[in-house]
Amino acid sequence: MAAAEDISEDTNAFANPHEGDIILSAKGVTVGFGSKIVLKDLDLEVRKGEVLGFVGGSGMGKSVLMRTILGLTPKRAGKIKVFGYDLETASKDIRTSIERRWGVLFQQGALFSSLTVKQNIQMPMREYLHLSPQLMNELATLKLELVGLPQDAADKLPSELSGGMIKRASLARALALDPDLVFLDEPTSGLDPIGAAAFDSLIANLSATLGLTVYMVTHDLDSLHSICDRIAVLGDKKVLAIGTIDEMMENDQPWIKSYFRGERALRRT
């Protein structure tokens, strides 16, 4: 509980974020399984407070990169810094406080199957904070409603939820500790268009009001257009291009062109 106890009068850097502040950086990251190299010399920077959309073909390693950043998949080379710390060399205390300050939404939800939705959301609070059960209950309900789940979902088990509800419940858990950085792995896949739009506006809202930084792997062109400040394209084992949606629309690299200006992309207008 180092973070809660060592309170000093220092100014908090999050209070006045200025443009160009890097919250996450990856340099020369190489990841491979066996003889297959998935990512090679990949560089990436995520700025504080932005919503970064990450696109790339299926099986190109988007999820692998996310897992590598999170420290779940070992990398062969390169350096990854989150909040300015290298996770591999950081002390245990720093690691713990970094893990407290990020939230992760896994592709399949990864809710704890033997806990109810509410217990799932309260899990990080129980672990890191010592709050009264009543307050935890209120906060869990708040988070639950923020992501658009009805209150009666609170006492359900994950196996009793639909795919979209699992996504939302999982987002609620990721947001339980009001993280500064959230990783979302295909958050809107499997949601109906209304739900997906609500999801987008929630993310945009949180990003605007709380300065949340979002790293979002997605294929949803609507999310990319509406809420992403920047978009990174993964291909050829590295980041092919990174920039705003307008820049992507003008990019003439064949894959990017067919992604953003392909048949399906144009049909949506």
Partner: protein
Amino acid sequence: MAFQQNNTAPALHLDETTYKHQIIALSGDWTVSTLERIEKLVAALKVGKDRMTCIDISGIKNLDTSGAWMVHRLRGTLEFGGRRVELSGMDENRHRLFCELERHHPPRWKPDRNKYSIVRFLELVGRQMEQIWQDAAAMLHIMGSLGVVLATVLLQPKRLRGISVAVQFDRTCIGAVPIVALMSFLIGAIISQQGGFYLRQFGADIFVVDLAGILVLREIGVILTAIMVAGRSGSAFTAEIGAMKMREEIDALHVMGFSITEVLVLPRILALMIALPILTFISDMSALFGSGLVVWVYLDIPPAAFLTQLHAAITLETLMVGLVKAPFMALIVGLIACVEGLKVAGSSESLGRHTTISVVKAIFLVIVVDGVFAIFFASIGI
């Protein structure tokens, strides 16, 4: 980077100097990492009634949803106490945040209480009884469908999944040989040593061979093997089928028109029913080998004498009594494992629970069935 350890302490200042008016000025960080302090501060706050109350949040440096919720909650509590409250010092972002919060009302807090009462106990007993009844029905159901599938397979041998049976046989039988042999060897040795120790006092050393031979062949060999198989393969069946159930693979088989019994249950049970007699035979031989070795070293009865005495003590029937029980034990272990596997619900906890139940039930029933067989064989005089 300053994301940790330099939060400003949250503070709360009550200004009651103005007549009929009071200001609660909040300052510092109202975020999730200072939430514990905030909760204590708010709980310790005592505010006079009958006054216009103003909560000033302009002094707050950092605010997140948890902190905002605490402010919102404070306001709610004050208003509930009959005061007029207003929030001041909002900027646009915070205004949006509070607007969002105002739309949510958590349900009334009801602490969980566990009451132990007679009614609850009776309810539990009733549920258990119901459960036992349903278990029996499920077993009968699987057994019935197994019978049907077996009949179809006999009529159309092509529908027997030979490769599947072979794979399961490899896992349940070949893989179990070393451990079954080792365990039986040790048990045979222990029986002989203990038997020899007591029988020597009466000069009846040689009857250790009879003791070990009959005990191992009739009872110990098959029971130990069945227990080992229940722990080894029964739990594996339950876990495999349970995990398939959790991931909707069973449902996928259903909708594709496959029979679960034919695809999953029959190959496993068939393989187990072939495997268990073989394992029992291996176990018997290995136990007798261990027994012979101990008898030779400990009681100075040479192998030749051991074999002669064994030949006199046991008949082929003695061996068969043990082996005949094996397929039935296999059926029980396999059936229970598959039934429990199919009962797994969505959570990993239920997977663990059913695997445990499967092994415990199988071992229990193996021993019960062994007792039934003992009565049966005694009554027909074998």
